[in-house]
Subunit: 451 residues, 2 copies
């Protein structure tokens, strides 16, 4: 295999990762006169803020994913390749991927972050994370399958394990999925499982710290807690999860909770890449960058969004929060700076994050929002949340489908995508996945690139 993209007289920008940052960068480089190559392990862009609704059976995966090739139709000098980035050879300006090597003039890491299990093997083995579309679909299947089995298991003990849901991590994702599952418990379960006592379903939200939504205002944290409690979620603070054994979540204070639905949304770590040494990484394995998102000392290499750590922004000496807006704003600026570099203009603009606010939704008419000095909770925040997210979904068709689905749910109190379904993996594909997973890190494939 080879990447198979012709080198031209144009400079080449290789972007690793088509999340909110990588996608924005690729879009903003339109007409820059540079060749843009986007590499992503998926063939589609996914919209992270709504992934939890796929997990809670509210949205179809297709409503919040968008094929890259669709997004970049009719775009000149743009190339997409579905591949995993494996290693970078900065001296040679070459990136090794699962399907071959590619040379670059500018390389931008925008691969985001992945779930952090903090080295706990049992947790990594058994917990269900929820960062990606695939994981959210897996969680939906597991959640529903556990409910089905709660109807038919042999012992009361196992039934309770199946009906207990333990969510670890009180950030936005934890709060949002806890709220969504509690609405399912309230509005869906009694109708769908008339011969099951829904009150036996117990939703725990465990947070190691002393508040929810640590990145938001105190009012919003408090209100989120009030909302969740009113919805029957058992929120517990100071609960540091240490292990998972015999279907029990083990907590540092010596207590434990039995569950077969164990969600882990407790921490993230930047995507790793071979060739960026450990001494270039900061907190959370993020790649250290300067105020222009450059990786110091590695010519032509940049990192943006969740994958990078910038301490040069005066207002954020410990680095920015790992939020969509940071990635998007860094991408916008980097596109401008790359154009300058391409034109030999040395007057690059340093990055300053403009906080546009943050919000989280907990349930029907229940959300919290901090926008500048304005902190609002309840119906207004919820409406705001709807509008902001609907606007951000790519594509008119997707917007329409999501709007229709939300309206439907609001009226009927019913999230109807409750199917347990897995795509088959034909042998041809299984073999290919196996082969590409073991692409070696040698340097012998380079001759295949055409000049």
């Amino acid at each position: 295999m080879s990447i198979n993209i012709k080198r031209t007289a144009q400079k080449r920008v290789v972007i690793v990762g088509g999340g909110l940052g990588g996608l924005r960068l690729a879009e903003d480089l339109k007409g820059s006169g540079m060749q843009v190559v986007l590499i992503d392990k998926n063939n589609y862009h996914q919209f992270p803020p709504l992934i939890y609704q796929v997990a809670s059976a509210g949205l179809a995966p297709s409503s919040i994913s968008f094929p890259f090739r669709q997004l970049f139709r009719h775009r000149k000098d743009f190339f997409f390749r579905m591949a995993e980035a494996r290693a970078v050879f900065p001296d040679k300006k070459i990136l090794q991927t699962s399907i071959g090597k590619i040379s670059y003039d500018h390389l931008v890491f925008a691969a985001g972050a992945t779930t952090n299990f903090f080295g706990n093997k049992d947790v990594e083995e058994w917990a269900i994370p929820m960062r990606t579309m695939s994981e959210a679909m897996g969680l939906r299947n597991a959640l529903l399958s556990n409910l089905e089995r709660a109807m038919t298991c042999a012992t009361e003990e196992e039934r309770q394990e199946l009906l207990n849901i333990v969510i670890v991590g009180g950030g936005a994702t934890g709060v949002e999925i806890a709220g969504a599952i509690s609405e399912m418990k309230r509005y869906v379960i009694p109708n769908d499982y008339p011969d099951m006592d829904a009150s036996h379903m117990h939703i725990y939200l465990l947070e190691a710290g002393d508040r929810l939504l640590a990145g938001m205002s105190k009012e919003s944290s408090d209100k989120a807690l009030t909302f969740l409690k009113s919805m029957g979620v058992d929120v517990q603070f100071g609960k540091m999860v240490t292990d998972y054994r015999d279907f029990r979540v083990m907590i540092k204070d010596g207590t434990s909770i039995a569950t077969r639905t164990f969600l882990w949304v407790s921490g993230i770590r930047a995507q790793p890449i071979t060739g960026i040494d450990g001494d270039r990484l900061g907190r959370g394995f993020r790649i250290n960058v300067d105020e222009y998102n450059r990786v110091q000392g590695l010519d032509g290499i940049f990192a943006i969004g969740d994958q990078c750590l910038m301490t040069a922004d005066a207002a954020y000496p410990k680095g920015h929060p790992q939020l969509a807006q940071v990635a998007i704003q860094q991408a916008r600026l980097l596109a401008q700076n790359l154009r300058k570099i391409d034109h030999g203009d040395a007057s690059l603009t340093p990055f300053h994050y403009k906080d546009l606010g943050s919000m989280a939704t907990i349930g029907r008419n229940k959300a919290v929002a901090d926008i500048g000095k304005i902190h609002t909770q309840g119906f207004i925040a919820w409406l705001l949340w709807l509008v902001v997210h609907l606007r951000s979904i790519l594509g008119v068709r997707n917007k329409l489908v999501v709007m229709l689905t939300w309206a439907w749910q609001y009226i009927t109190y019913n999230n109807s995508i409750r199917t347990i379904v897995y795509a088959t993996k034909p042998k041809m594909i299984r073999e290919r996945i196996k082969r590409e997973a073991t692409t070696h890190l040698g340097e012998d494939l380079m001759e295949e690139e055409k000049e």
Copy 2:
């Protein structure tokens, strides 16, 4: 595990399979005074006629699947269990499933048919079938993944293997998927893959017989062929596929076609069940039934739809075609007859199939329809096809989403659900699937059923 459904004074009807027949039967038994238990390996009903559009990235899986529990909300004396039927013990009136045993008064097999590979192991191993939602999702992923790899493979030979699509079987499914893929080739590929020559993509439709849509009129068969040819599909007759080796489809006449996208929609066989002996099976492993859909000699056991073979209907001495309408009509009648049996009324009504016609769609404005003596092809047939299928989709939300999606595609020439995505399978679920797959066929679990 146990089925865990209380026996009452009511008679119990156990239905195996919630396809078009099983679902209709369960619905028509509403208010019958009997306890109805529906067993299906999936937790949702799927709509077979549109599964091919999931494979061709036209429809989201959720648009044409519907959770059983949703369908039977507020229904008394109805129970759903997600399980696989394994074996029946007719003497004891007990059905063994993957999650335990269940006793019955009336047992109805409505599990339909599965792909028939006619004993060819290589074909079974490598070919992609398209009977279920999971298989259609798998095919979509494989199709798109092969296109991605056609961009990056090392040799011209492999590229051609990736761009050749071989569909075996010229029935409705083969014709419809061939048409859908050829529209993707025409309208989507040139935009999505500007650096690929779409003309290298070659779609073969191989049929062993001498015409397409063998169950339809000669005019419709001919017109379907004309449509497909005009759309660039290479239709070949008299092609009996014998094997698949080294990425080549081997044909009995000594020729072969290289491909890595090998679709098998060439034949079906009834779902097997242990306990129904071979001498009770007819053509295609279908369970022989009398004119009341009773399995002769097995008290209280019935079979309907694709899974049964009825030769007592005078107009169909060789049995009925395996079509949705047969299953639905048999289900309707059986519901009436079961009520009679329950009331001790011996005057059962024998089944006579009323052919409501059949249709197949090939592409935009292109369909064929035989309705009684009326055979129409083209735009009118296509409109008819749209209306009939839209009407048959369950649920208002699903109808709306499908209508919106179709309208969108019609206007934009674009099927936009082109994502390659697999749900993860958390360890908890993997272990359970493994365990349930090996449920033994003993009889020791019976005591768990409560009286």
